[in-house]
Symmetry: C3
Subunit: 269 residues, 3 copies
């Protein structure tokens, strides 16, 4: 994918200011809303059963994050998800901690069976869980494993007919046929709680402005990783990293993308 | 209203450190507590039915924000609101997203029917919904509309016998008879999620130290907008804006108010 | 306790990256997770009944914070607490607002009766409530009182056979026999909402790497207070204090500890 297309999508989000319906966990909810605003979207974090279907149906995209599941929030996700599918609104699913407990993995699998999901965004441990691979996930953190991340991501993408974005030192984005790597990023990302969750919301912002989920995910992943890289160069530690990350998402521009985006089409490699 | 009175109220909040009982949404809850502390108040964000009436009755003010409604939190608001009214504790109501869904608008109207509210604080889209005006609200964001904001605010204030504070590029504060404009502020405010919600909590901090809700709302609106203006001049983007906003609320002083407060009595204009 | 041991424990947390299971309030949850990451731990903020026992049993420590009680979260605490006790995982309990309402005090007492708690961390008002002393607590803030904090802390420690850490201008850490004071800190701590809650999570991070709860609590208290002191020297107000605090937790090192740690063994004084 050309940098030029990525820049067009960035501008498109800022111009259209898509409404994003986000159901997410209590840890990441504030940063997720701020990050969505920073790239130009308009987030609404609604969970009440009385209104989620109504909101999902008029949104540009719906983001479902399973970081703090309750029976209530699972039902919120099902109600909003079905309304989104019916209205043609793309869904991004973030399977937080799917490798940590059976309960989370089963919930994700049920959501995937019931809903048509455009993009799944997770870390290696979460995608490994969805691929049925053994992986030493550590709670909600990625942990370590020996599996081939690209191969696992391709498999999950084909199984569920979706795009898979795996965050890590190198991000992998694939629809199971075409695969990209994004090499931007920063080692402080894992020190910011909910930085993966925010990535999922950025994916939703881009999915709202193009019907091509693969290019949406590629653009979101690149812009987010690059903002983090630039933030990391300016900060003193994880506290200031977060603040600079929000600033850099807001300040992202054509010149920075042309100059620093480090992406690669690795299809078939 | 004179700057001198505004300064007296600022000092009064810092001296009395009023206990604020705040029931608010999960997105804004952390910033709301930090902002309340920054102006000198002592917030408690309690929602348990077993304790809300007890806490509301001993608080300086109660703030009710409908950003994340659940059946449980609606009941928390009713229980605390009735206890506040009985004890003469002023209530500030923030009708977040009242223009977004019927469920929210109905909940706000029921609260207004049941409780005696001192100040309603919202954006133009939310106040338009309460005034029964058409308005292109966008989720929880203000959106655009052609209605006359001052006229709508006056109408809502008179209907519910309350003060109405409308946040925007220019803030409007009115009790339906006397009306002020606050022209301080900064374009980054809408990029900070929950910045309107925090405004509501600041209104409560000032309502706790004077029985004149109009002057409380005017003082809170001016100090908050001015802190944002000063923060905006120092920051690089929305991430650093938030941090500077908290600093500026804490650092607000007589000199800055005398020098920069840009307010106007527009009664009858 | 020697600075050398404190440094060893700091390194041990960074090396082992213990999984921390944290059940806490909505206000402090984001800062608590970020602070845990900043000292090198791996937090998971899980509350679902289906998974809390499973997670607690494999964690390095469990932290229970009663800041936002609901019937659901109380049951989460009981389920995770019993699993932690069974698996020998240390529990840190933060009795937020125990002096504010009867409901909170009773909940804390029930948890203490049912669970074996390694460390109780609170402010003076909360520890006074547990000690049955009169104290002018103000909501969740410490308030003022005339009781002898060290004596109260000793009494609570002996009653429940636990370590008690009392945060304040000077921190007191005791198991009822041996008592330490930590004199590091900064006046901006009370202006950061959830700064006490984060202290509790840091206690858990250290409790995960030593079976000696007294030294864990001493090390956590010292490092946290010192990070705040260094942050306070760099910041302009409470907004920037928070950011610098996270940075300083991450940047803490042997040299700073050797140079600035201001601790005292006050046993029997």
């Amino acid at each position: 994918m050309e940098n030029q297309r990525l820049i067009e999508l960035m501008d498109e989000v800022r111009k259209r200011k898509p409404l994003l319906h986000v159901i997410t966990n209590r840890v990441a909810i504030n940063d997720s809303a701020n990050g969505a605003l920073a790239v130009g979207a308009s987030p609404i974090m609604a969970e009440a059963h009385e209104e989620v279907a109504e909101i999902a149906a008029i949104s540009g995209a719906l983001e479902l994050n399973i970081g703090n599941l309750t029976p209530y929030s699972i039902e919120s996700m099902r109600l909003s998800g079905r309304a989104a599918n019916k209205a043609g609104v793309p869904i991004v699913l973030d399977p937080v901690g799917a490798g940590a407990t059976d309960f989370r993995l089963q919930t994700v699998q049920k959501l995937l069976e019931e809903l048509d999901v455009a993009i799944i965004r997770g870390n290696a441990g979460e995608i490994a869980a969805l691929a049925g691979e053994k992986w030493a996930a550590k709670g909600v953190d990625a942990g370590d494993g020996n599996g081939d991340v690209t191969e696992m991501a391709n498999r999950v993408a084909l199984s569920w007919n979706t795009v898979v974005a795996v965050s890590g030192a190198v991000d992998t984005i694939t629809d199971g046929r075409r695969t990209y790597h994004v090499k931007n990023g920063h080692p402080l990302f894992p020190y910011m709680t909910g930085s993966g969750c925010l990535n999922g919301v950025i994916q939703a912002a881009y999915a709202a402005v193009t019907s091509n989920a693969l290019e949406a995910s590629f653009a979101a992943s690149t812009i987010y990783a690059l903002a983090g890289q630039l933030a990391g160069e300016k900060c003193a530690g994880p506290g200031s990293f977060r603040q600079h990350l929000m600033d850099e998402l807001y300040l992202m521009n054509e010149e920075k993308i042309q100059r620093y985006a480090a992406v690669e089409d690795v299809t078939g490699l």
